[in-house]
Subunit: 456 residues, 2 copies
């Protein structure tokens, strides 16, 4: 249902500046993203200031820092002063430190303080996501006073749908009231009288965005206050910022699970060298790990020469271990991310994956035995006089390898999380590499047990 | 920051029923989920009706259909009449048809109509996610009239933060007004005078939830109206339902990408046989595909016997193809899901992946040549007199296989999408299987070119 936003005509700054105020802000951003930075600055300068500010408040704008840097200083300052605190801090996060200092000096003192406070929080923390534009009122106010206050400040607040009630003396957070309760309340009633009986939900500034997302989603909130150790409200995280965070987190996890560094940028926009770096690094590391398979093969070279027929099934056996490992890993990464299971549950998972892996391995083992028997009996391929022993070797090796794959694939995310890494780094290729090397050792060990005295 | 919700004491229905109204509804649900269905029904019967209704309005409640089925009929009817339309329809979606008919007959006529309308929409469509409890007013009303109306209906509406303005005669959707604009507006002003100039955003009932999520996230909406062909509002999709949908969609995609069917249930809650079915099915299909590697190996058996040294690198070469394919697939699946790229962009992607794959393959090829040279020169392993030719074979094969892996891994999601499947079904194991078979053929072909007359 989006209208067509592609720019087909030659660039005309005045025409665009006249058109943008009639579009949704998100659409204006999409149109500006198609312009060169020089063109975008030209259009922004012609727009009404509050419209330009709205555009910079959208997280979808490409390279906002570059635009701010390129535009006339008075315009840059006006936009920075007017925009929401979280998006503004994000711009300063992307600027060089010399540009930062330069721009900061032109801003008001309390804007500077707000920026440096927000920049102090680590990436992806509640503090770095929050905005400081929220509505708070002392607990002594009435419903009518609060509504009057909201009417006055509405323009400058990111959301007015959650109102935070503070202790009039200590300014600590007492309650949160949704606006819907306020408009149905008696105007002369005390604001405290219409608040829900429960203590308000809140997060601390260092909490990870995944945890914030979990709370907002569980309690169906529109915003969540961020409080310091003394229960002063530092800011709020709003539901639209959290949706962006959930989507980004999903993208990063998917890319990591695919065996690469998270891109941080849309696929079509990232430069080819950046792409090579993000993919080549992990690919080379996995390659070095996978080289151990060559060592394992060299170690069993004697067996390989005696029974070349064993090599025929190496790809099949290795891939089965990798596939069962990928399955288990993707399950556990996601369950950990959603908070369905916790670190201390690892042994419960192991107890489930052990029989699951054995059963899955048995299914594949039976298929393999049937396959070899059919090929042998129908004369499609001759596996030699010991074909049945060979078939049993393959079947038994599959049980061992799929069990090992499921077990190590499910435990790897726990180990990574315990060591302080992101469990999503347990990528499908990482698990496959781990299982490949061990899988070869399991295969040849089973072969030595079953085939000693016959083929080996 | 969740409080401890685990039930440690022996079950006491009266005590729980006294405790639950002081908890957040989402926490009450978590507590009830720990009870047996019989216990949960006992507690629910003791709760105030509006609290029981709130609990059934939460998507987190396990087995709501079973609870409704088990409880006394008058209570079940009262809860069903009181709950929100979308969650109610969800319960009927899970009931057997005989139970459905039985319960439906006890409900009011317009409740029955609402249920059958919602059930008619396909799973994951906007229609199946929407609720019919929204606020709409005729365009002839004033701000004060609208606010008064909201005060009256607030209790029965899922959200009052978006108000839909309808044409007084045709009842078609004209505008959407956020509540914040309403409370800052002049009471005597016409509601139309405070609406934004743009046409309202909307979706159609058959639109997929992924598209609804994209719009809500792009335009930072709290709700999105669902309209029929005549622009009548059928219902609204709220942001909290969409967050649940985004998270579920992410879980399904992650599980599919891991090479299994989506579970639809939390990991710890799914039965072991259900789990085996969801994992074993795909694992067996992949295994059958991977059996082609045995055919490929059998085809090249003559070459293998002549040059056993070639087998040493099979696992290394195969896995590199699979890993580069996984990377490319995870990138493209995600970019397609986010709408960053479209089906018609496939050739742009191919033009990017071709040089990327060649460069990545060259990096791995160089590492492999160095590895073989070092092992040979330092006497760690003897690859024979033609070791340099062998090293070049491995290097060249890696360029070919990684290029093929990147290219086929990136194109597979497009092909699946074009054929009407979910691109996320292009799992890492699926890509690995595809690349493994082709990788072996590439490897032996390169070997025949480089080593004919020496080793082969």
């Amino acid at each position: 249902m989006d209208t067509n936003l592609e720019l087909t005509e030659p660039f005309d700054a005045a025409a665009l500046a006249a058109r943008l105020p009639n579009e949704y802000v998100a659409d204006s951003v999409e149109i500006l993203n198609q312009c060169s930075p020089e063109e975008a600055v030209e259009v922004l300068a012609l727009l009404p200031l509050d419209r330009a500010i709205d555009i910079f408040d959208q997280p979808g704008l490409d390279e906002p820092a570059e635009l701010i840097h390129m535009m006339p200083r008075p315009l840059a300052t006006a936009i920075l002063e007017g925009m929401s605190a979280d998006q503004r801090a994000d711009i300063f996060r992307r600027l060089d430190s010399s540009e930062c200092d330069d721009l900061l000096s032109a801003l008001k003192a309390d804007t500077r303080t707000s920026i440096s406070q927000l920049l102090a929080y680590p990436k992806h923390s509640a503090g770095s996501l929050m905005t400081t534009e929220f509505v708070s009122v002392p607990a002594t106010w009435t419903v009518a006073q609060t509504l009057e206050h909201i009417r006055l400040v509405e323009r400058t607040r990111e959301t007015v749908y959650s109102i935070y009630v503070l202790d009039p003396k200590s300014k600590t957070l007492l309650k949160a009231v949704p606006l819907r309760k306020l408009i149905t309340g008696e105007p002369s009633a005390s604001i405290v009288s219409i608040t829900p009986p429960r203590k308000p939900l809140y997060v601390t500034p260092l909490m990870d965005r995944e945890e914030v997302a979990r709370l907002i989603s569980k309690y169906d909130l529109l915003a969540l206050p961020v409080v310091d150790a003394k229960h002063h409200v530092l800011g709020i995280v709003t539901v639209d910022d959290i949706i962006d965070a959930i989507v980004q987190e999903g993208t990063e996890d998917a890319q990591k699970f695919g065996g690469m560094e998270a891109l941080d940028q849309p696929y079509m926009e990232i430069g080819i060298f950046e792409m090579l770096r993000k993919r080549g690094g992990w690919l080379a590391v996995l390659f070095l790990g996978e080289m151990l398979t060559a060592n394992a093969m060299q170690y069993f070279e004697g067996e390989l020469e005696k029974a070349i027929v064993l090599t025929l099934f190496i790809p099949l056996i290795m891939s089965s271990g990798g596939n069962s490992g990928s399955q288990a890993t993707s399950l556990i990464i996601r369950a950990l991310a959603l908070g369905e299971i916790r670190l201390r549950d690892w042994w419960r998972i192991a107890l489930r994956e052990l029989p699951t892996g054995m059963a899955l391995g048995a299914i594949l083992g039976v298929i393999a035995v049937i396959r070899i028997t059919v090929w042998q009996k129908f004369g499609i391929y001759d596996y030699g006089e010991h074909w049945l022993l060979l078939a049993l070797t393959i079947g038994a090796a599959l049980v061992g390898i799929v069990t090992f794959g499921s077990l190590s694939g499910s435990m790897l995310p726990f180990i990574l999380k315990r060591l302080g890494f992101d469990p999503a780094s347990a990528s499908a290729p990482f698990v496959a590499t781990l299982v490949d090397v061990t899988g070869l050792v399991i295969y040849f060990t089973v072969a030595l047990i079953f085939l000693r005295g016959t083929l080996l």
